[in-house]
Amino acid sequence: MVQVHMTVNGEPVTADVEPRLLLVHFVRQTLGLTGTHWGCDTSNCGTCVLWLDGVPVKSCTVLTVMADGHAVRTVEDLERGGRLDPVQQGFMEEHGLQCGFCTPGMMLTARWLLDRNPDPTEAEIREAISGQICRCTGYENIVRAIRWAAAHPHAVEVPS
């Protein structure tokens, strides 16, 4: 077992893990953050995308020990202070999700894209999400959702 220290969604985390424990399992099982999903064994589907040091990665292909000393951000951290990220709002507004399984990864990639490119073209959006499979939406509404978020950059409080 190896002891790891990292921040997850801004909170410090310390745990003893087997070196082979995949980051997706650490996040889901050890920390109970089940918003990060998995859908394949070969780094193809992208449902396990989370941020490592501010960059989206496929967490099924990262060992937990590799995240030692680094910062992890998951879908659970998109909403802050009762305000949904505009990307989350966009996915609702434009029906960018159906079964919801690929959605966390898609939204994290979208947020990363918009942070670097606040007004992306359709082609840039399609390229950005091309490593993530959605089986439900045919991608059209995911593209629209991200454009919605680009057009509404400021989070709005969600009426409860």
Binding site: T34, G39, C45, T74, V75, L84, Q98, C99, V143
Partner: protein
Amino acid sequence: MTVVGERPNPVGFGRMLRKEDVRFVRGKGQYVDDIQLPGMLHGAILRSPHAHARLVSVDTSAAEAHPGVRAVITGKTLEGLKLAWMPSLSHDVVAVLATDKVRFQGQEVAFVVADDHYTARDALELIQVEYEPLPPVIDARRALDPGAPVIRDDIAGKQDNHIFDWEAGDRARTDAVFAGAEVVVSQEMLYPRVHPAPMETCGAVAHLDKVSGKLTIWSTTQAPHAHRTLYALVAGLPEHKIRVVSPDIGGGFGNKVGIYPGYVLAIVGSIVTGRPVKWVEDRSENLMSTSFARDYHMRGEIAATREGKILALRVDVLADHGAFNNTAQPSKFPAGFFHIFTGSYDLQAAHCQVRGVYTNKAPGGVAYACSFRVTEAVYLIERMVDCLAAELHIDPAELRLRNLLRPEQFPYTCATGWEYDSGDYPRALRLAMEIAGYAELRREQAERRQRGELMGIGVSFFTETVGAGPKKHMDILGLGMADGCELRVHPTGKAVVRLSVQTQGQGHETTFAQIISEVTGIPPEDVEVVHGDTDNTPFGLGTYGSRSTPVSGAAAAVAAQRVRDKARIITSAMLECAPEDLEWEKGRWFVRGDPTRGKTIQEAAFAAHGSLELPEGVEGHLDASCVYDPPNLTYPFGAYICVVDVDRGTGKVTVRRFIAVDDCGPRINPMIVEGQVHGGLADGVGMALMEAMAFDEDGNHLGSSFMDYLLPTSMECPSWETGETVTPSPHHPLGCKGVGESATVGSPPAVVNAVLDAIGVRHADMPLTPAQVWRAMNGRPYRTDLAIP
């Protein structure tokens, strides 16, 4: 459910954001693998590397001795429990764990239960299995050869690999029309074996509470009630002691209709260990062992006049059902609804024969959004029409317009007996052509051809048949295809509706709230939708075959109408008038001629729970239920046009545009309906261009991971262009027809027709990968069900 601003929801039908999304966008969906129970153990399945082999021995001693392993279950263990075999959905049996032979690569051989998932996986490596390899049957076209190895020697007296012969239509009449026809075109085609491949794989958590005797199964199921009954039949457990919970499902598309050995093994694991057991398959297990779709080898013949009047169709099908006949379809229909292959045209006669065979491949069939083989039927007819168009040098859109059923012909009984409920086909096709700018596209195509560029325009028109039953004709394992619904309005006017169907992403929590809202006037945000839990919902057959809206949606509408009718009586008691004197406006009964005198449904609900004296025979409270047995199926339809560019030097296809006009009757939530169409169109691009599961001669699965089984990404999909016409179903209470599978059914032939139009080739089988397109251009397309030679 408003997210931004103060935009109100519609009361009833209309665009409305989805209620379920508030949890999904926060990562708070709860899928099967998210379930953690105290003391839960983890299972993993050892699978056969061989396609066909005798099982000589299974030595589990090392695995059992491995630290953290709690149980190792083999076929022998299950034989002792009489659980080694379970009934299939098609009057066959399926091995839960192999006892005598393995019959496909990936078949279940042993099950390990351990403290954690990693340990369970490690222990699989420690199980020693001795196999005696047998020659496999891989090519379905050789399955009935004399001397072919007999796969199902477990069936007493079985001497070959034949499963069934089935036919529909009038053979003699069809032959007679063909004999007199001016033009006959025939074409062989394969609809390859493909996979629904939802992003969430299949899995289950089983927990047998030894004290109460209650078995709870959380599983990825599209049909929780049917599963409960089947578990009762398989395991001999009393049905009231079984609870099936289907939590959030990460996509189904038909993959999650059946019961897989893994679910049964999780149950056995819980029985053996006394603790909850989770089993979730990995992606290779999903692709290699769970329900595939299609695998139809078809030979079509179309008869017509020289002017392009289509007269008759004749079809011969060889259906590869894999090692066990486990297709999920109504009992009386071994080829599903394939005999709707007459499609959208007015034919004099039609006949098909279908022969099912065993091969050493995974069992299953009719999964992947196919409406019980309508996908294959539409592909067949829409390819045949294009072949005829090419033969007669008639534009394929024009040929369709000449032959489409006319609106005045509905209800229309086709040559194989289906009664189409309603439609206006030419209007839909003309709209699609208008959106596409069809004539301009053809002009552009001609210009590009002059420059040596390959551009193709593909047209397809489909008629779906969805919403099975009626139950007198349609059942699964004796369970009639009807669905229940219970609606209860609370004293304060809020409501809960309980459904037998199960969403896998279609948005039932929103759509069904809108159905209740449309009929009762209760705002959709005030309607809680409960589904996916057999202890808390009425019986019904579940969600597949696009049947939720046509069947369960009708049940909800009828229950809502009953609530509304009861509210009328209550209102009449409140206002001391006769029920007949009341008129309905959405959400309120009022006295005819005096609109100020009335009561809202919320006021009626409170009164129904209060001291109000009700007429004799009328009980208090405001609730109703319904079991809906549909009088007929519904027949959604649509016209699709695909535009592609093909790189002459590489064979690479780019889908430039896709125009989809769908008619599914009134749209409850247009946003959700459009989303359903989008997803199906992507399926069509996938199947037409990249998805297929081939096998090499040893039976090795050549598409066993997402590196090899390719799903379309955002880059292969164009920006979909959609349109709609609205032709209500005359027999559905709301006129709705269902739409879940329309685009998956209708789009593959549009893409294939476009590619073949571009390269000027009569036919080549899907998937039209760069290699296949290039080979087709060179007159040598290959078979896509076998390893590429």
